[in-house]
């Protein structure tokens, strides 16, 4: 995945309305009118957000020519999560090692406390 594609995904996700639209589309396809209703926004305003989402490849148009329903495209979202996942694994590796070190430290501390009591 190119970094330009990632940029487009993240720019599209940066807006709370667009995230809410994606949340709605995760439950199934919806027309522009159906999407506009819960957001109390005009259809042109929703269309504008949809255009950004479409450009980022996050939303596509369904087959019904009359309703022109929009549907969620999950692939770029998965790429966006993978992107963070690699960074997360970077820290997970370190913290797993820290776990082992803390176990050693706990044992050492116990021994020292025993010695002090004697």
């Amino acid at each position: 995945m190119s970094s330009a594609q990632l940029d487009a995904t993240f720019a599209a996700l940066a807006d709370p309305t667009r995230r809410a639209i994606l949340g709605r589309l995760a439950n199934g396809q919806a027309s522009v009118a159906e999407l506009a209703k819960p957001f109390k926004m005009s259809q042109p305003a929703i269309s504008k957000h949809l255009k950004v989402l479409e450009r980022a490849g996050l939303v596509s148009r369904g087959l019904d020519a009359q309703r022109r329903p929009r549907k969620l495209e999950a692939m770029p979202l998965k790429d966006a999560t993978d992107w963070l996942e690699k960074y997360r694994q970077f820290w997970e590796q370190a913290y797993n090692r820290l776990d082992a070190l803390l176990e050693e430290m706990k044992i050492k501390e116990k021994k020292q406390n025993k010695r002090r009591k004697k």
Binding site: F10, W83, Y87, R88, F90, E92, D99, L101, L102, M105
Partner: protein, 167 residues
């Protein structure tokens, strides 16, 4: 039982959070962050050799770490702003390998007592720009890709050994 590391980076923001619980009191987790000999043992990914060149974990003190892999050295440095045992470390962080200097990150690490000998680490990094933050995260991704290729190399080498693949 293992504790899972959580990373949160909201799109379009200049910060990221790293959260992790430990089956150890926060005093020990704090110590592992401020004692150079201990820090060396765990920081960084498995395949990098880590050296603490300098680590003066007091307010106004500084640090410099070197990560080495395959002849490449990656250096990081920063200054401690506050070191409050056993609950908080605040300081700056800068990767020396960038084309220009000045891309400084401010980090706050909090160590919370969960009782029963357990604790939680909450780290916040604040970047100068969204691009800086996303670049830092992406560098982790590139690393992952390199690791992936290394694993693929190993796999390919094994497949090429006669008779082992079918055994």
């Amino acid at each position: 039982m293992s504790n899972k590391t959580t990373v949160t980076a909201e799109p379009g923001k200049q910060e990221l959070f790293i959260i992790r619980e430990f089956d150890a009191p926060r005093e020990l987790v704090f110590q592992a962050h401020t004692d150079a000999k201990l820090y060396e043992k765990w920081v960084g990914p498995d395949d990098l050799a880590m050296t603490v060149e300098k680590m003066d974990a007091v307010a106004g003190g500084s640090y410099r770490f070197l990560h080495e892999r395959g002849g490449h050295v990656y250096a990081f440095h920063g200054v401690y702003h506050e070191v409050l045992a056993p609950e908080r470390i605040i300081g700056t962080f800068e990767f020396d390998g960038l084309p220009e200097t000045g891309h400084v990150i401010m980090g706050t690490t909090k160590f919370e007592d969960l009782g029963g000998g357990r604790s939680r680490l909450v780290h916040q990094s604040v970047f100068q720009s969204v691009a800086d933050r996303d670049g830092m995260i992406a560098s982790g991704m590139e690393r992952g890709v390199v690791d992936g290729y290394n694993k693929l190399d190993n796999l390919l080498a094994r497949l090429q050994e006669p008779n082992t693949a079918s055994a």
